[in-house]
Symmetry: C2
Subunit: 125 residues, 2 copies
C-alpha cells in the first residue's frame, strides 16, 4: 500500500483513520501503555496493536524498551513534514475565503439596492 | 476503506499517494484537463482517472461541466481542515527541535571542555 521510501505517504496513510488520530491525541497528553491506549475504544487488543504498528512504521510513535509496559510516545517529526506539505496550499484556502467574503459583500450590496427599490419586501429578504 | 462520514480520513487517505499529491501540485498552477494531468506520469488514463476520482470524492478537486474537456481544479477546503488538525501538534515538533538545539549546545560545551584539556586533539574533534 505505502512504500517505505515515501515517508510522507506513510504519514498521511497513518492519519487517515479516526482511531489512529485519537491515539495520537491521547499521546499528546503524555506517554501511555497499550492497555491505557486501548481503554477508550471498543476494540480488541490485537486491533489496537495493529493501529499502533501503522503509527510506529510511519514514525509517528515510538515505544519504550521497558520489558513490562512498553510505553508509547508521540513522535512529531513526520507531522511537521505533513504540515509543511499542506502549508504550501494555504494561499488557496485563504483565497477561497477571500472570494467567499467578496461574494457575501456583493450579495449584501444587491440586497441593500433591492431593499431601497422594494422597501416593503425588506422583511422577506 | 474510508467512511464518507469522516471527511478528514478521506482527505488524508487521498493525500497518501505521491501521484495524487503531484496532481494537486499541478492544479495549484491552474485548471487542467485529464489528458494534461496524465502527461507527466507513465500511467494509463484509467489509472489517472482512478486517482482523480479519489481526489474528487475527498473534495480536493472539482471538475467542470463542459462536455468536451472537463477541466479539473483544486478545491482547498479539505486541505485547510487537514492543516488545522496537524497544527494542533505544532508545539510538539517545535519542542523536539528545541530539545535538539539544547542537545547540540550541550555537545558543543562538552567539545569545548574536551578541547581545553586535550588541545592537540582539537582538529580531530
Amino acid at each position: 500500500m505505502v512504500s517505505p521510501a515515501d515517508p510522507l505517504s506513510a504519514t498521511f496513510a497513518a492519519l487517515a483513520d479516526p482511531t489512529r488520530r485519537a491515539i495520537l491525541g491521547r499521546l499528546a497528553s503524555g506517554e501511555a501503555s497499550v492497555t491505557q491506549l486501548a481503554a477508550p475504544f471498543e476494540m480488541s487488543m490485537p486491533a489496537v496493536s495493529k493501529h499502533l504498528k501503522v503509527l510506529e512504521r510511519a514514525g509517528l510513535i515510538a515505544r519504550g524498551r521497558e520489558a513490562q509496559w512498553r510505553p508509547c510516545r508521540l513522535e512529531a517529526g513526520p507531522l511537521k513534514e505533513a504540515a509543511d506539505w499542506v502549508e504550501e496550499y494555504r494561499c488557496f484556502w485563504e483565497q477561497s475565503f477571500d472570494r467567499l467574503d467578496e461574494h457575501l459583500r456583493e450579495l449584501k450590496k444587491k440586497e441593500k439596492k433591492h431593499g431601497r427599490k422594494h422597501r416593503k419586501k425588506w422583511s422577506r429578504v
